[in-house]
């Protein structure tokens, strides 16, 4: 198990928006600055200024989402850039009724990251195919060993606390989907449980996670 950052005391970066509100009483009301949705819609009309503003709000999150899936920091930056270009390119199609701007952009990053991992994996698999065949014959089963990753290293204290409310099985399904980039069907196959069971775990787990996060202070 990797617990590289677990020893650090959680001080937690205070979200910038909150900081601003507390430290500057005379600041203009929040409503005066455009929402992320307004910014993304403006991107869709070709405003590069809106993209700059959106970038300032979301780029670090996009980089993190990419890193939680691809792990390698350089590759994560690369994926994040691709995702942000993709967000700009497809922003004319953004419809606020179908999700928040943040969810929309972060989902693009998540998918891009999964695509990259799969592409890299595919190439490694092919390059190593012959050698692996020989090895597998020598030591059957060795290649099936799942490398255990401690997803907690990627989680804020707030997320860890909220995830603790879930059952182990719910948490496992959500972590495999988010950090492992797996679909419900792939998770069901990997865990050897029926697809319906996996769907239920994800649905109930997400509901509980959503409610738990409301209870945990930022």
């Amino acid at each position: 198990m990797v617990t590289a950052v677990a020893v650090e005391q959680w001080g937690g970066p205070v979200p910038r928006r909150h900081l601003r509100a507390v430290s500057n009483e005379t600041a203009p009301p929040e409503a005066a600055s455009p929402t992320l949705e307004e910014l993304l819609l403006a991107c869709g009309r070709g405003s590069s200024e809106a993209f700059d503003a959106l970038y300032a709000e979301l780029a670090a999150q996009v980089i993190r989402v990419a890193r939680r899936v691809v792990h390698d920091p350089d590759m994560a930056e690369d994926v994040a850039q691709e995702a942000l270009v993709e967000a700009w390119r497809t922003s004319p199609k953004y419809d606020p009724a179908r999700g928040s701007a943040r969810a929309w952009v972060l989902t693009i990053a998540h998918r891009r990251a999964i695509d990259r991992v799969r592409r890299e994996q595919r190439q490694r698999d092919q390059v190593e195919a012959e050698a692996a065949t020989a090895e597998r014959e020598a030591a059957p089963g060795a290649q099936d060993t799942v490398v255990e990753v401690d997803f907690r290293r990627w989680q804020s204290a707030r997320v860890r606390e909220a995830l603790d409310v879930l059952s182990d099985l719910q948490r496992e399904a959500i972590e495999l989907a988010y950090y492992g980039g797996r679909t419900q069907a792939e998770i069901a196959e990997q865990l050897g449980v029926p697809l319906g069971t996996t769907k239920t775990r994800i649905r109930d787990g997400m509901t509980r996670l959503r409610e738990a996060l409301k209870e945990v202070p930022r």
Binding site: V5, W10, G12, P13, G44, G46, S48, E49, D52, A59, A60, Q61, I63, R64, V65, E77, Q81, L84, W88, T90, S91, P92, K93, Y94, D95, A97, R98, G99, S100, R102, A103, L106, T107, I108, H110, R111, D115, R119, Q123, Q126, V127, A129, E130, R153, Q155, S156, R158, A177, Y178, R182, T183, Q184, K199, T200, I202, R203, M206, R210, L213, K214
Partner: protein, 275 residues
């Protein structure tokens, strides 16, 4: 489980491509799913929170470092046509031949678009580290205008199956890691083009689906305006192709949609990467 129950899996990005398409079609008409989806915004935001102050600082720094080059890249990126759709709408889907050529020409002659964005980029911007593909360029028009010109090609130019997959993978790796390689989005689904003057061209990744009797084909578009040089065919979906070709005097790599087996002149150019 009904389709309404897929909201959270959709938010978590745990649906496969087919399920996602079905759910998005449903989402467009279901206010209750739209409302529930909005409720997961905080979950996604929380999952993207930094694990600690060190990570937060590192990512803020990385974001600041990448800002200028991102601005360059979006200035060089043409946006899709308007019309609501979900995050990963496929946009490079080949259309009917006539419509596609018209589309390419229309985009090529459009006075605004990405160029308008470029003007608003501060002049203090550093030079881009590498050239971006400029779709709808005059080179693409050149490729499109050559449609219908008969071209005699030696059979040897048509590369067939490269043989076993490990050889293909090794070739791709050789091109990907070549010293002069340039990686660019192909502009076709998720596919990426690796172009190396010394090692050749590799196209790798997910391309939009085609009809049963159609295939993609790769072309080199010469800078001198002569006819495109036909290259290997490439299947749709998850595909890889390697072309050990001479890029001397080439202006662009183009991809077309062709009848099964490929053609000697491009039928329907769907994307091009300028060199």
């Amino acid at each position: 489980m009904s389709i309404h129950d897929l909201v959270s899996a959709y938010a978590l990005d745990a649906l496969d491509a087919d399920e996602r398409r079905d759910f998005e079609a449903h989402l467009a008409t279901c206010p209750s799913c739209q409302e529930e989806l909005a409720g997961y915004d905080d979950v996604l935001g929380a999952l993207a929170e930094p694990s600690d102050a060190t990570e937060a600082a590192a990512d803020d720094a990385a974001a600041a470092r990448l800002a200028a080059s991102l601005r360059e890249r979006i200035a060089a990126t043409e946006q899709v046509a308007e019309g609501p759709s979900a995050p990963t709408a496929e946009t490079a889907e080949p259309t009917r031949p006539e419509a596609n050529v018209t589309d390419i020409r229309a985009r090529a002659s459009a006075p605004t678009g990405p160029a308008a964005g470029a003007e608003s980029v501060p002049s203090s911007m550093p030079e881009p580290v590498r050239r971006q593909p400029r779709r709808g360029s005059r080179l693409l028009v050149a490729a499109a205008s050559l449609l219908g010109i008969a071209l005699a090609v030696t059979a040897g130019l048509m590369l067939a199956d490269r043989g076993d997959s490990s050889q293909l993978a090794a070739d791709i790796e050789r091109i990907r890691t070549a010293e002069d390689v340039v990686e660019q989005p192909l502009g076709l689904g998720e596919a990426v083009a690796y172009v190396s003057a010394s090692e050749g061209v590799a196209l790798v990744g997910e391309t939009p689906g085609l009809d049963d009797e159609e295939t993609y084909q790769v072309w080199v578009v010469p800078a001198d305006g002569s006819a495109p040089v036909p290259g290997p065919v490439m299947a749709d979906g998850d595909s890889e192709v390697v072309w050990d070709t001479d890029l001397d005097g080439a202006a662009a790599i183009a991809v077309s949609v062709e009848p099964e087996g490929g053609s000697t002149t491009p039928t329907e150019v769907v994307t091009a990467v300028e060199l």
